[in-house]
Symmetry: D2
Subunit: 349 residues, 4 copies
């Protein structure tokens, strides 16, 4: 290993986000996986868990307490929600951490307790955690030791909404987010509802008004205007593996604002961003155009209803919605270009 390598541990490497991290890091010139953990797969090679990665030269899966952090600079934590707090609390101070779970996303312990059903176990750490929606928080991300990687839905919803709320262009009491997700968002655990036969050739809403990503979205929008925002949020499960589309219905703050004004503001904010892009006027974002990439494509359209607009934003839930943004954040934390390792183009068809 070259001297300038950053040594990464991936805790919880046997799920889809873990695999996606390994796929991305295989192209990363600086970040190198040196430790992989997996509870039930200890001793297995990566090829046994993820045959598509069998060609990579990677360490065997070990138990989480077997990791020697003295040889680790960066930790990606892909553990289930709830189990992460204890583990991160026990990590040595020299490692930088991106946590892909929800454990450090909600800054208010009371909100966390309400939505997750138990008190937060590391409230001190949570105070220092930075919510890593990179494009909108990169200054803080660069200084952070612990970054809470945003959820997939919140990424797709907040990227277009936060700039418009910051610019005070849309009403914050009338934001409706209708989101559609591929099945990989449900993880690799064997559940009846994620079986091929239960998902294929169908769509349905779920978690209506009760999905845990709702308070995460609220938090981001509220911070943008310093006012307690509640958003309507309805996720849907779709017969595809990857991709999220958020279709967002908003009201203009002032009657003379138009969809074009909203679009121009987003273009201004994201003008120099490599991943967050506003499409040409009238071009509709499609999830197939971001598959496997870290892009977030968005656009704004006039609604039929007066003084309203429709915003759509697409991401790959496993990349910009999880592992890609995690690498983008880690790049920022180590002073690397954010695009490093993330230059792969979308896979279409």
């Amino acid at each position: 290993m070259a001297n300038d390598q950053i040594r990464a541990a991936i805790l919880g490497a046997s799920g889809y986000t873990g695999a996606e991290l390994l796929r991305i890091l295989a192209q990363h010139p600086r970040l190198k996986p040196v430790a992989l953990t997996a509870e039930r797969k200890v001793g297995q090679a990566i090829g046994a868990v993820f045959p598509h990665l069998a060609g990579l030269d990677l360490p065997e899966m070990v138990a989480i307490d077997q990791v020697d952090y003295s040889g680790v600079d960066a930790v990606f934590c892909c553990l289930p929600h709830g189990t992460t707090q204890d583990i991160i609390a026990g990590l040595p101070p020299h490692v930088k951490i991106v946590d892909l779970s929800a454990d450090f996303r909600l800054s208010d312990p009371a909100v966390y307790a309400k939505w997750y059903g138990h008190e937060h176990k590391a409230p001190e750490l949570q105070k220092g955690a930075v919510y890593g929606l990179t494009e909108l928080a990169r200054d803080r991300v660069r200084e952070a030791r612990l970054v809470a990687n945003p959820g997939c839905y919140p990424t797709a919803a907040q990227l277009p909404l936060i700039p418009l709320i910051r610019a005070d262009m849309i009403k914050h009491g009338d934001i409706i987010i209708d989101a559609k997700s591929g099945v990989s968002g449900a993880g690799r655990a064997a559940k009846e509802g994620a079986l091929f036969c239960e998902v294929s050739e169908g769509i349905h809403a779920y978690g209506i008004a009760s999905h845990r990503h709702a308070p995460e979205i609220d938090q981001g929008l509220s911070a943008a205007c310093d006012y307690p925002v509640i958003a309507s949020f309805t996720p849907h499960l779709m017969p595809m593996s990857r991709g999220i589309l958020a279709t967002i219905y908003v009201s203009m703050r002032e009657h003379d604002l138009t969809a074009a004004d909203l679009r121009n503001e987003l273009r201004r904010v994201y003008a120099d961003e490599p991943f967050a892009r506003v499409l040409p006027e009238g071009v509709v974002p499609a999830t197939r155009h971001v598959r496997g990439s870290n892009f977030a494509l968005m656009n704004v359209f006039p609604d039929r209803l007066p003084h309203r607009a429709i915003i759509t934003c697409v991401i790959d839930n496993l990349v910009k919605g999880a592992s890609g943004q995690a690498v983008q954040n880690m790049n920022a934390m180590f002073g690397l270009p954010e695009t490093m390792g993330l230059e792969q183009q979308p896979l279409f068809p």
Copy 2:
């Protein structure tokens, strides 16, 4: 053929809605196809056009001007939009007609001309056409000679919305319909956008604020309250063949109304309906549960935003959204039970 048979001609039998009519009529004890037309398939047997129907004893495809209407009682018209008006105008007075195209759906010729780009060619006929959303118009359907069969999206949107507007329970200036459709709605014509590789593993919105089903929805909602309603309507194309899900965001007319009130009203209106059903409280409608059937399943949920509710409604776009409702209407027009031929249960998985 038994004496009590009703002899049906299907004009335009080589598309998906034509095939679906034939599938349904194969189980119908009274309606029998005696003539099938298809422009480019003249002289072909049904098995050459639709191998899945090869087992049926059906007449060959003929040209549309070869049909002898003296032996026809009922006409299902599955022709492309725009071509239908001339042909229906030329049908003999004794036949009853259900038109599955959009040609007679918009009662105002000016609205038709605006959205379809040309003057209506049979405005006199249009005056007498009945818009056949069966559950909500069956008295008029029973007396009609010409029924305009509703579009797929308008069926899914209007079934829950019209009763709530009639009951003056929701604001008509703030109705947002986010609809998701399978690909069969695009028909069988070979288009790049409907190729497997372009649709699979992806979703995107289309026709934002400009889809031709929007004025059809407006018309139905407006008639329900005698006020010109405009609805926000955004369709999406999904990787499945059949099914429409409409997720509808509404505002309560009065602050003391709840989602439960809306749900109760729909339960009251549809209490005795065999096809339109309100699911038990909290149960989410899923398109896979109506596949191949004439059911419309709906439910109402509280929104996170105060004084708002979320309604979802699912149908099979080819059945309740097209050929099934057409048979339901024809049943009503001939005094048969509406369920005749439509008793098939959904195909799942």
Copy 3:
């Protein structure tokens, strides 16, 4: 319930084959479900287990030992392999039984023990069980009390092969069956390998030379020629819910035989069959053309290799490969027309 109703119990009604039986029986004028059992769903209504069947008037799920067989004439047994033998051994003598598990398919107890890893628990019953490939065994089926319903792969393979072996037209030492199946064949149990993300956009072989349907196929082919046949059999898992395609590679017994001769023999054998059909020359069977129906479509094609032919046969694995054939058999056992309840046409698209 009318006097001529045949009262059916469905043991194990909460799996896909149970649901499919209920879907079919909903259209059956004589066979009526009066008892449904399900181990983990006792007390639940059918709509809670299978929302697509919520509209049916069906009894609640009970535990298997709660069924009162005095009011039951017919039993469909959809229990897991291995658990069925004990239960069927305990049924009263007056009921007729179609068993959809593999428990009574293999007539030789030694073969059963070898492939299923334990001694058969009801060897006496097994002696009297009739292997219910209806078209080729209907005389014995009509007289049977216990019918072992064939496996899905064996149905698709044996329907074309047995007549050709009986006619001594193909070599029995050189039969290669390459079969492709939809995921519903794996049942509704939550397994990682059946998750949407693991199956979608991919295909792979499984159980190569070791699938339990292999000895079942061997048995049928051997009986057809009174010689111990071993067939090469390779199943593949495909991203679809329903359907099996068997592509079968055979060698002619005599050099002057052609693919057309084989095809003619199959046409002769299946000339009057309502479900087993030989397609017109050159027309390729496709699983989408049998979806939801009890059809088996087959055809024979010349191979590029001399003195060889390629046979393809398609069925819906849940219908002709399971529940449809079970109803067909029960019809035969009760002296009803075999097609009763099975007239539904395929659902396409």
Copy 4:
């Protein structure tokens, strides 16, 4: 552009193989697209034709006669079969060419004329063309000016078969190839048979004994043993966008040979190959494990029939079966490492 850049023209850049080349070259440090042609898309930016590539800095589409070859070193030719011969014949001598069409694959003009229905238009060029199955022909590829890139099916079939035939381990009169392909192999042209609704939830064989890839496979196998081999070849169309699985049934040349012997020979031949890999014993290749990558994964299994074996090989038809192998070949022709630009890992799920 750096001095060591190799300037590439892509003729026919608006199809799936063209898009895939652009995706791959975006990661290639040396090969840079400087000219893109597309008949019907002249003047359009890549983002209008392939929105997923909108982020790339690429030239506009031009007509094929507008390309200035003085600034071009390498030509990838992705034109339709039949049109390519004239165009390649007109290219200046200094450019190196990889042709992805079938035009130069068949070295015998009589065979070409028989299968393609017309005389070859550039027989002199054809003589010098090298068939670019890279792993098995790299010495000749390195010296070639014109490489005929293999077809997708022939790549998956020949990679395992040629070494076994060269080693005289399998009978060449008894090779049966049952191949399954994703839909992208049919290209992006709008055809009814490639519509989502016609392909989804189904499988069927096509081109039985008549597919144009059959003589290409014959040619490769024949060259491997210097004997005219004919192989049985049956392709199937599957509901996925990418991937080919070839399941190959072979007979041992000698009775004492085993599947393990065959597997060992393939392991020996491909021991040092970065892309062609023999999986561990018993591990089944799956197309989802090569999606988006240039890998060919293969393995050998014992058949139930004595003295026979089953070989399976998977590739991504658009990568190793088309554009990836084209880049691999071009790398070889320019003395670059074959893996350059092709290091991306498979995209799963």
